[in-house]
Symmetry: C2
Subunit: 263 residues, 2 copies
């Protein structure tokens, strides 16, 4: 497996986690680009002999692979200003952006999408992070597989449409569930319950869904069609119309899925 | 710590898990009651010298503690017909039912609520399952603490109002999140994605929320206020109005919480 020289464009959640995972995978991070030089320096300082820079001209860079790790919205802007060395490979890391946004800057382009919720404040091992790759040529594909397998045991080839679906599913799984945890913690705080009381439930929710599958794992009043509890809990939420509406639509969706009646 | 003789009323998810956890905790299950004798026999057969029965007259029972583990709706009906030995303790195991529904059958009553998603098909260790207890007298409290600590390291005293809040929060955390996993698996199936591709994300969603807290753990387009991705994903769901409406209300709730604008 070859070691690569790579440059990272971005300093956020994905850039931070990916830069550190690439270095752990044996690769050399030549440069970190950030609009804000201070942020680029912060990340570069966590890496081995990496240069921070706040300009997008990489014509003098020794990197062979360039990772665009900026928010989906900012990719087009980066693409407009990016100057790459000849024959460089450029990839973006966004779930819901098609591969062809990169066609205008490089023939050798691709997508390197880590299917995980990444935060700067929680740098994680990439060993179990699924890496979804897409490549414009077979040469690029070989390099991306090489890079992906150097850090993860789970590498998938997904085209842009499949990646869209994966990203959408991930929003339901992670973004929305995590938000439910936040709403639940509000409910718990209102009654001064200790927050750690829910830790075992949060973990078991994940493990149970994986082991049984979510349909066999489903429990609760909506699944049982227990109208009395559902009505009572709706009343408990009467001070908060938004929470009440989420409760109702989720309960109806569950009841609907399992063919029970809540009305 | 005393070993108790207990009887279990019910044969469902909670009854099964609790009976096995009580036995593991060193207690003796004298009888299992089920409306359907065959189901009572099934559970009794998994226990040590336990008698199945399909009638609610326990006047001859040697048990000192009776666990009502039937669905919330059925508790009143059981209470109406239950005949207990003198001085017996009776508890129910429901999150959203007040303690006083038991006042008519026994002075010594209480609640023994395991704050966990329990299924017959997945018998779990109770070591980390929070047990929330409430008791009508100090004597009952001592017995319930004894029983709870014999199986779990996490024992809480919650009154009926606090337990209501805990149960409501648990519905958001477990029932609704698990349902989101089911909806996500539909999305994945539509695009023929391998279901295991989401396992790492499901686990990390849980671990990250516990370690960082759900607010610091939140990521995704709604949190970033990325209207373009949100609009695109809404369009992806245009074939399914119900899914679209859940996507929209969850995204708006997230945007609202973090003060970003999606409109």
């Amino acid at each position: 497996m070859a070691d690569y020289k790579v440059a990272i464009i971005g300093t956020g959640n994905v850039a931070t986690n990916l830069a550190l995972a690439l270095e752990t995978g044996g690769h050399f991070i030549t440069e970190i680009y950030g609009r804000d030089l201070a942020q680029a320096m912060d990340l570069a300082n966590r890496l081995y002999e990496t240069e921070p820079q706040d300009y997008l001209d990489f014509s003098e860079s020794e990197a062979g692979v360039f990772f665009i790790c900026v928010s989906d919205n900012a990719i087009t802007q980066v693409v407009e200003h990016l100057v790459l060395p000849e024959n460089a490979i450029v990839v973006h890391t966004a779930g819901s952006v098609p591969i062809d946004v990169l066609d205008s800057i490089a023939t050798f382009n691709g997508v390197f999408y880590p299917l995980q919720s990444l935060s700067k404040s929680r740098v994680i091992s990439f060993e179990n992070v699924p890496i979804c790759i897409e490549a414009s040529t077979n040469e690029v594909k070989a390099v991306l597989i090489d890079l992906a397998t150097s850090m993860s045991n789970f590498v998938y080839e997904l085209n842009s449409e499949e990646r869209n679906a994966a990203h959408l599913a991930a929003v339901f799984i992670n973004n929305f569930s995590n938000h439910l945890f936040a709403l639940a913690s509000d409910i718990a705080k209102d009654s001064e319950l200790p927050s750690e009381i829910f830790n075992a439930l949060i973990i078991e929710t994940a493990q149970k869904a994986i082991e049984l599958g979510p349909d066999a794992a489903q429990t609760g009043p909506a699944k049982r069609g227990d109208k009395k509890v559902v009505q009572k809990q709706l009343k408990q939420l009467s001070h908060n119309a938004k929470l009440q509406s989420i409760y109702l639509s989720m309960s109806e969706s569950i009841a609907n899925r399992y063919g029970v009646d809540l009305a």
